[in-house]
């Protein structure tokens, strides 16, 4: 079980690092938003799964404080999966409305539809 926790934490930190690299390697606001939000959300999900399994391990070791650790981490996992994509969508929409266009884009369907 402890190796499963290690694997989850490793997957999480690798994806967080990929999201941070995506902030620096992409040329544009929209591509940066895409890369960083997807990778940090996925990495955070795996880090929280690792923490939940750590709480289950505390239960089997019969230590105190496992119940609130598990339940609060599940609550924050659900909250993060709801709020993070919504915030990214709001940022992308506001960026498009404030007049900043994608750098290498050829067509812009949203602009055509809003006209």
């Amino acid at each position: 079980m402890i190796w499963v926790i290690y694997c989850f934490l490793a997957i999480g930190i690798i994806f967080q690092a990929l999201g941070t690299v995506a902030l620096h390697r992409f040329p544009d606001v929209y591509t940066r938003l895409h890369g960083s939000t997807l990778c940090t959300t996925f990495g955070s999900i795996f880090i929280y799964l690792g923490i939940i399994l750590y709480g289950v391990r505390l239960y089997f070791l019969e230590k105190a404080g496992y119940a609130s650790l598990i339940t609060h981490t599940i609550l924050i996992l659900v909250l993060l999966m709801i709020t993070n994509p919504t915030g990214a969508h709001a940022i992308a929409r506001a960026t498009h409305r404030s007049g900043i266009m994608p750098k290498y884009a050829v067509v812009d369907k949203l602009k055509e539809r809003r006209r």
Partner: protein, 86 residues
């Protein structure tokens, strides 16, 4: 052993937050800085949960729950301000 892994995870998350802060300072336009701030918020929530499991302080995870909702509200208000409707 697993406490060492959690400590390494917390330190790595701090380093990633500093790298994101470089983008928030350098960013050419305002939405670049907002995107970097959003990534920093997500990393900070993961950092709080990791420290809560490492130090066995459940208060940190409660703070992380409130921080998630406050970061969401602040992101929505910054987006509304960028849109010019505030």
């Amino acid at each position: 052993m697993i406490l060492t892994a959690l400590l390494v995870l917390a330190l790595a998350l701090v380093i990633l937050m500093i790298i994101c802060l470089v983008r928030a300072i350098l960013g050419p336009t305002v939405p670049d800085r907002v995107v970097a701030l959003d990534a920093i918020n997500t990393l900070a929530i993961a950092e709080l949960v990791t420290l809560g499991a490492l130090l066995e302080e459940i208060v940190f995870i409660d703070v992380a729950i409130v921080y998630t909702m406050l970061a969401f509200v602040s992101t929505l208000y910054i987006a509304k301000y960028l849109e010019g409707r505030l």
